[in-house]
Symmetry: C2
Subunit: 358 residues, 2 copies
């Protein structure tokens, strides 16, 4: 791999994770929380990529307010590799911010772009798929990973595969990226067999990404190049550039426009961990519906996911399938079928002027 350029990993850690309140908070969003294990999601993500890239080739992009948190959670990563954005501009500018720096030093470098807050069941298998994607990136195209869909999920984007690549085996050209489908369309995608869930994982040659960025989002490319040239840009310069940066995701801004895209389908157990229902499902598969059993007493309570994290005793009687999340200053009791309504609750908390609980 040395000849083809070393692999860098860019971890996107700028999410807010509103729907995972009260674990996810404004002051500490979900990726900085231990949601599914004793490690935070960011730490898990770093552990997953550790065999792929030594810490000095790991980059984290996050909100300015969270850079010290990232540095304390990933002490092995050089402080200068943790890039703080002065404001959120979605994933295309965030990815570009890091890739522009990598490309400036080594345009031939390979880059794996990964969200900080995905759940991936088998890290070793994941790394094998990434290796295949790195191989596919030698074509000079952007490569993405996809998951074989197990259900007609309407909350995710899908990738339609086209022809096979010559190599590596198992990789395909992408026919198109799709937006979140309606239920009937989602069902047809699953039945078709040629669609994969969009995981938000991308692999590419750094210089190739910058070239495509220049084509699809020239103003973003200009901004991040300017920052990369500045070396350690001042806060003022960062703010000026970001003020004029448009807010756009990689999917909309690049993947849906780009012609030269490949996909490596995977059989990974994966989730974007976007809601309490998702957390509950992962916990159930892993046999961890009761992560703090010493703090929970359930009587006639089946299928509940109880995070009893405040040191208090949680007793459930006659509860079926609910989610209970107990923290020192806030408690959530939720029907997971209605987990999207957490947002309404947060809006109400804000209306009441209790921002310190958000």
């Amino acid at each position: 791999m040395a000849a083809a350029g070393r692999l860098h990993v860019v971890i996107l850690a700028g999410g807010i994770g509103t729907r995972l309140w009260p674990i996810s908070r404004r002051s500490r969003p979900k990726q900085f929380q231990p949601l599914l294990s004793a490690r935070t999601m960011l730490e898990e993500t770093h552990q997953r990529v550790l065999p792929l890239a030594s810490p000095e080739r790991v980059w984290v992009v996050t909100g300015e307010a969270f850079t010290s948190l990232v540095r304390s959670q990933l002490p092995a990563v050089p402080a200068g590799n943790v890039l703080g954005e002065p404001m959120a501009r979605s994933s295309a500018p965030a990815a570009a911010l890091a890739v522009a720096r990598i490309a400036r030093a080594d345009p031939e470098a390979r880059v794996l772009l990964t969200p900080a807050d995905s759940y991936i069941g088998d890290a070793a298998a994941y790394r094998d798929y990434v290796a295949a994607a790195v191989e596919a990136a030698a074509t000079g195209c952007i490569v993405t990973l996809g998951v074989v869909p197990s259900r007609p999920e309407t909350g995710l984007g899908y990738i339609k595969r086209g022809e096979r690549l010559e190599r590596p085996p198992g990789a395909y050209w992408v026919e198109r990226f799709t937006e979140k489908p309606d239920p009937a369309t989602a069902a047809s995608y699953v039945a078709d067999g040629g669609y994969y869930w969009n995981m938000g994982q991308f692999v590419f040659v750094a210089g190739v990404f910058m070239e495509r960025l220049e084509r699809h989002l020239p103003e973003v490319a200009k901004g991040v190049r300017r920052l990369a040239e500045a070396g350690e840009p001042s806060q003022e310069l960062m703010a000026r550039v970001y003020q004029e940066m448009r807010s756009i995701s990689i999917d909309y801004g690049i993947a849906e426009k780009e012609e030269c895209l490949a996909v490596v389908p995977t059989a990974l157990e994966w989730s974007d961990v976007g809601s309490w229902r998702a957390v509950k499902e992962i916990a159930a598969r892993r046999g961890g519906l009761d992560p703090n059993p010493e703090q929970h007493v359930g009587v006639e309570s089946d299928g509940c996911f109880v995070m009893a994290g405040s040191g208090r005793l949680v007793v459930t009687v006659g509860m079926k399938g609910y989610v209970v999340v107990d923290t020192p200053d806030a408690l959530l009791i939720l029907d997971p079928e209605q987990d999207q309504l957490v947002r309404e609750a947060l809006a109400e908390i804000e209306r009441r002027g209790k921002e310190e609980r958000l």
Copy 2:
């Protein structure tokens, strides 16, 4: 009333209230807690009888461990009127402990015996019924209050009325006290119209009660007489007497055996507040399902009773009809249809060696 003997009130405050955990605790059972208003149930009970008897004629019988709590909650009641039992022996010995003292000073005194932890909607109406019962007690019989049943409740004893008393109007002789009925029997009682719920409220002449006690429970009568004669009995004497006292309720030990009993039927809104379902029903009738609305945010949550008493924010999403009780060290989430299972949860807490949470 002066000629007929003044009215004393004996408040029985020895209950444990297990099923109302986590508000009711071993160290502070429900009668010492503000469950349905800002006042504790004991304070509410005292307020209710205040116009009937000045504080020096109010007596409270409770566990020895709770005498100082009672004195702090009812500072107007003389300390010597708060009687602490060294061990629980049910209601007959508890009542007799106080009545023996009253009867020794004034056998003609009238006594109202009341639990400390009942809910009664209309205190003024209650006092009118007590006045009628005091009048009926002039017959030389024990008088009880009954509630016209509004549903075939199986968790309560019933009183079957017999012939009318000559006076006061509306009072009847009691044909019999019944134990808790099965559902079919309870339904027939309600349909009959001649049955009332046993509220555990009794009115009698002090000397009459002691005479009946002598007949039905001679060993209890002997014990409490000995303690009354001792004036301020030593802890050792109290313990010795109680050790030999049998544990028996007024209902089983006296009311079900006694021939000379009258009942004053009442149309009171009443509950023995024995379970969370009962608390929820009372709260719903009073429009107080959400007693701490500033601490609770409900989204698509109807008919839940949420006691958010720990200062934490409680958010419920998609919960219908549940009971949530939040305290600083323990949380209960309960289907009120299964409220009897709280006991199983407490047994489990004890098995885990977490007695400090009980």
